[in-house]
Symmetry: C2
Subunit: 374 residues, 2 copies
């Protein structure tokens, strides 16, 4: 896997070691704000799920590979409200969005295929595609690809909206499209992107999750494949791990019953918008030489430093300064990738004062690194 072969182990080791150091401010990881996880409702749901024997049966025994009917209905209902004709029996509950991507790519990709991806793109998708033998083509370089991977509405890591040109291109494609909506509900303006599934139900593989909006530790996401592909996915899901966690699904059903999900989304969007604004403001103040785009949503900004790339050396400098980030190479891991240091900086899990302090540390690390290089 290029991610691990291309990057040195010392870099991975340094990140892992540093991210548990309480003295280090971490912009790494793509974590939701822990305080945004609806703790009280989850506690109530947990108690209800294990209190009586019939509940224990429904919460702790095996269930079917496609998942709990109440969750499938919830996913389908929300997609129908956006114009996609999705019945609950089209929905497969997965172990997070990552398993949705893994299942979809395994069924679509054959070695030698060309996959269209964004120029700056989620590495969990890039790694899967490479593993399956696909040739990656970034954005407009991809002419008549065999498949496309897209994050409609909000990109990870850039936080950028899908542009009208990108939408037009997607709508012109005739190949399978994997549409990853991991962050789509976290646009700061609250607008949801068009559901590609509604426009091309026979070739769109729709992926979603509650990992960013509610809680990643449940490992609950979903895949809505074209109807003709459903039976194959149920077999694949069974072979992979039999089913998504029964208790996690039960808790989520209980949580959604107790929680005003739309109200919760509004709250967390406001939280992340404030943190994004703080991050952009501080970056522009401390590092005015960088070109920082304001994200439309999501958890992170992505900046290119223009400094020649030596990831381990720069990460060491940052860790010494007490700050951590996600190395940008993994998000742009193409043959023609830029030779300069790029950083994914997540603001999502940090209070504003930590963002302020973290950017200050990052600025001092970057200035020290640059002056040493000169």
């Amino acid at each position: 896997m290029q991610k691990h072969e291309g990057q040195s182990d010392p870099l991975e080791a340094l990140i892992r070691e540093s991210c548990s150091d309480p003295e280090v401010i971490s912009f790494a990881g793509g974590f939701p704000a822990t305080e945004s996880i609806p703790q009280d409702e989850l506690a109530q749901a947990a108690i209800a799920a294990v209190r009586t024997l019939p509940r224990v049966e429904a919460s702790l025994q095996y269930c079917w590979p496609e998942g709990k009917p109440a969750l499938r209905e919830w996913v389908a209902r929300r997609l129908r409200a956006r114009g996609a004709e999705v019945s609950p029996d089209r929905v497969i509950i997965t172990a997070g969005a990552q398993q949705g991507l893994s299942l979809a790519f395994k069924q679509i990709v054959r070695s030698g295929m060309t996959a269209s991806v964004d120029t700056i793109c989620y590495p969990g998708a890039l790694d899967l595609l490479r593993r399956l033998g696909a040739t990656l083509r970034a954005g407009s370089d991809a002419h008549a690809p065999d498949l496309a991977y897209v994050m409609p509405g909000i990109s990870n890591p850039t936080g950028a909206d899908t542009t009208p040109e990108q939408w037009a291109r997607l709508r012109d494609l005739t190949c399978p499209i994997v549409a990853d909506e991991a962050y789509a509900e976290l646009r700061f303006d609250g607008k949801l992107p068009p559901v590609l599934l509604a426009e091309a139900p026979e070739r769109v593989f729709h992926v979603g999750t509650v990992s960013k909006t509610l809680c990643p530790g449940l490992r609950v996401g979903w895949l809505v494949p074209p109807a003709h592909a459903l039976a194959g996915f149920l077999q694949d899901k069974t072979l992979d791990d039999l089913q998504a966690g029964t208790l996690a699904q039960s808790l989520l059903v209980g949580l959604l019953r107790r929680l005003d999900y739309e109200g919760h989304l509004e709250e967390v969007r406001a939280l992340y918008r404030a943190r994004a604004e703080c991050m952009v403001r501080e970056l522009r103040r401390r590092l005015p030489e960088l070109d920082v785009s304001v994200p439309e949503g999501g958890f992170s900004v992505f900046v290119d430093t223009g400094i020649e790339r030596d990831e381990l050396a720069f990460m060491k400098t940052c860790v010494r300064a007490g700050v951590l980030y996600d190395p940008g190479t993994r998000y742009q891991d193409f043959p023609e990738r830029p030779a300069s240091l790029a950083l994914r900086l997540c603001f999502s899990a940090l209070e504003e004062r930590a963002i302020v302090a973290g950017v200050e540390r990052l600025a001092s690390a970057l200035h020290a690194f640059r002056s040493r290089a000169e």
Copy 2:
């Protein structure tokens, strides 16, 4: 996948429809007894896991692909007590034993390889092997296989112990061995089988789970691969689904802290032994023409009826009589598989009076079917 291509959809549909019918006694599914799930301790663990914000962080956020340190330590400690030199950092926490098998086979098997399996064997392993292009060879037919799959101590579905001849054969092999201990702790005599991992640590892929002993709905199992293969597995696990459920792992850690696990195992072994004895007694009484072996452990017996195979017709007869079973074909799905009807009959999740009634219904169905066929 042969399982689904070979079997008709109507059979699957009939099983699914019937197993939720409260009038039907189900010997299908391999479920542990719901009343054996330690409900009080789980409830306490659940409340503790979501009560305070630091706990929420540890229970509901992302964690590393290899899983929680406390669980890895628990798995390693129990293997060390059986003579295998396993450090916690060799253990990968998986989404149940099925994902352990899936990860192991994906790394070992290349198309065209010969895999040695038991003559009567867990279909979740057979299906994976076939999917990866392996040629299956049952038991002693396999001469110098490229890999072997084995359930040491207790076989699913037969409940049989590994024979001395089988052990001798396993010890003579020089190929990779996937050792699936899903039922190993549920031998009725409480004895644990030898850990192959201790004898050939460089080529044994050890798989375990709490799905049968504690609770399947958590989806927590483990894979202990040879040390040289570990890094590859962490990459594969990340690509598959990032990590096992954080909350499920936290709950299991909390449960193991509160529960006397050895005492719990003794209790459930006694429960399953009593149910197994009831099942064998009733089968011999009502269907003396069948050859029924007493299981050494596990959840099921496996019987061959000797009647010519027409699985859908027989399943229909059984459902009409109010009883359900797992079709035996899936457990013997080789080119040379027998042409007669075989049944996996799980006693694990049924009280003895239900076993008695279920066997009575099965006997009447079998007699009706046989007389109609004649």
